[in-house]
Amino acid sequence: MEEGHNSDGKENALCGRSLTAASRDGGGRMSAVPLAQRKVEGGKVYSGDGVLGYLEMLEAQAHELGLKQEEKEQQEKKLDRLKARVQELRARRDELQAKVELQEKRLLDKEALVTDPARPSAQTVLEWKVKSIKGMLQVFYLTGISGKLTKQGVCFCISTAYEGTYLDSYYVDLLINPEVKIQRHSVPVFIPLEQIAKKYLQSDIRRFMSVLSDHLNAYVGRRHQADQLEEHFSDRIEGTLQRNSLCNLLVFNYTVSSDSKTFPFNVRLLYGNLCCSLPTEAILSCTPGTLPLLAKMAAAHSNTFRQMALHKAFDSIINAKESQD
């Protein structure tokens, strides 16, 4: 019996670890099983009964339990890994699904445009209504004076134009209570807004708007004429066109030819009426001594300037001169 034990020494050495392991944690787990059964378990043949044989058996059991525990741990690890992988794959699936939905939505939007023309949907009717209202608002805007009710009053928009060209828009924001007052505005500072407001704002808003609109339209018209003159005829003007902010005084020089001699003319255009875009006075002067010769021409030019828009007047003067020569 002793020899058998010795030959199993190696096994025992191997089981030594599991025996201690088993004794550490599995102390309570080992149930009392009859000696005879344990002899045949695990296909192992034990040397026989006796305490040593019993211990051998316990050792072997502990060893097995240890192995099983390891296996279990490994399986748990594997399970965790697989779970993580499942999460990963689920997230990817969500992502792709969202993408698909976006694509579908976009496609649907595109399709919505192609509807059955025979039966106008509520949407197209609404769109048509909106379009026609926008058109109306544009028409109001193009008339020159339009407005919008605000919380505290009304905001007027004066859109100016000169001979078919639409130019700047100016705004006047009015408060209604307790009395009519200008809250803020975008009217240029050289337009006499305070004067006009003092005269008409309290008594007659319509008149106020009309007078202000006249001032603004006339200013914009004068400015437009001066700009056109500079743009198209800068080569026929000696030096630069002298103006001021209101464009109600314009001074420039040009040359006049008569009998194949050139004479310089200086013209001062005064716009006395701020609501008018034509000059009230057109003063032509030339070098002293030449006036008797050119008096007729000067008078004619003065008339032209007073009756026609500046750039057109200048155009006709130049062309008349050229046709004379």
Partner: protein, 344 residues
Amino acid sequence: MDEVIVEYIRRTVLKIPRDEIMAVLQKWGFLSEAQLQTINFRQTKESISHSVAQLCEESSANIKQAALLDIIYNHIYPNKRAWSVYRMNKTGEETDFFDFRDFKKKFRRQIQSALINVTINFREYEDNAIWIRIAWGTPYTKPNQYKTSYVVYHSQTPYVFISASTLRSNLPLLCQAMVVASNYHDIREMELRSHCLNSLKDIVFKRYSQNFQTNYPLQERNVLTENVDLRINDENSSEKERIHRLNQECFGDGPQPKLDFAQYKLETMFKSDPKWDVLEKKEPFRCLVKFSSPHLLESLKSLAPAGLADAPLSPLLTCIPQKARNYFKIREKKSLHPGNFVSP
């Protein structure tokens, strides 16, 4: 006299950033293209300025040319000076035909009747802005070209922009000359100062974008269409929109005029618990609050969206462009609104 002028021109050129010297000299137009070609603009500024001075001496530059160069320099770089705004009043209703030649004559005459030793130069620009440069002397000394005041005036407007820099004692004379030359009655300093001249103009000429409500042109509500990730929800979107809307109403859409600071002088009573009797003096509690910024109005506009202040902001802050002032005096609430006003 020549050396003084040439040195003055040289020092003016030194102030210009090197890459822009050529453009400024071309605008000046005193040196011909051929002369400008002889200058090597890759040297140091010191050397360039000496080359320019040399050429000017050869071409006999006079004081008028030198003054013109100074005006051009200040017109291109107006933000180097501090500007104040003055407002003129007149009672008559006659139409004013502003004649530039008349104006120059009257202005010069008015100043020189009191002080003969001045250099006055005018230059008119495309936007009807008249730039006046005045170099001051004393009754006993010649004008000092380095002690200059600048006046910018748009014809037929009541506003004058003055950068006095030194010698504020000459300011009354300057103001008087402006009033007489432009056919007004009196002049008063406004509570509006900044380094950015164009912004001051924007404020008083009402050229900044005020948010006017109109039916047409239609005001599209600019919905922020960025790459909207459908999985992200903004919990605060309604609050964000409210702040955005209030900000739009106060400040408008466009860029704000550039101001350096806003100053509030408080002369209010200290309100405290009646127990603290010692602090309840009858005198107002004096305090000065100053907001400074490289761009004050833009920073005020971004306070609410950044979460640093509640929207709507205090009207004391948002009324700055509307009231055209950045100096305020706040007294006790006797009437509905504090402070003394400049009627716009």
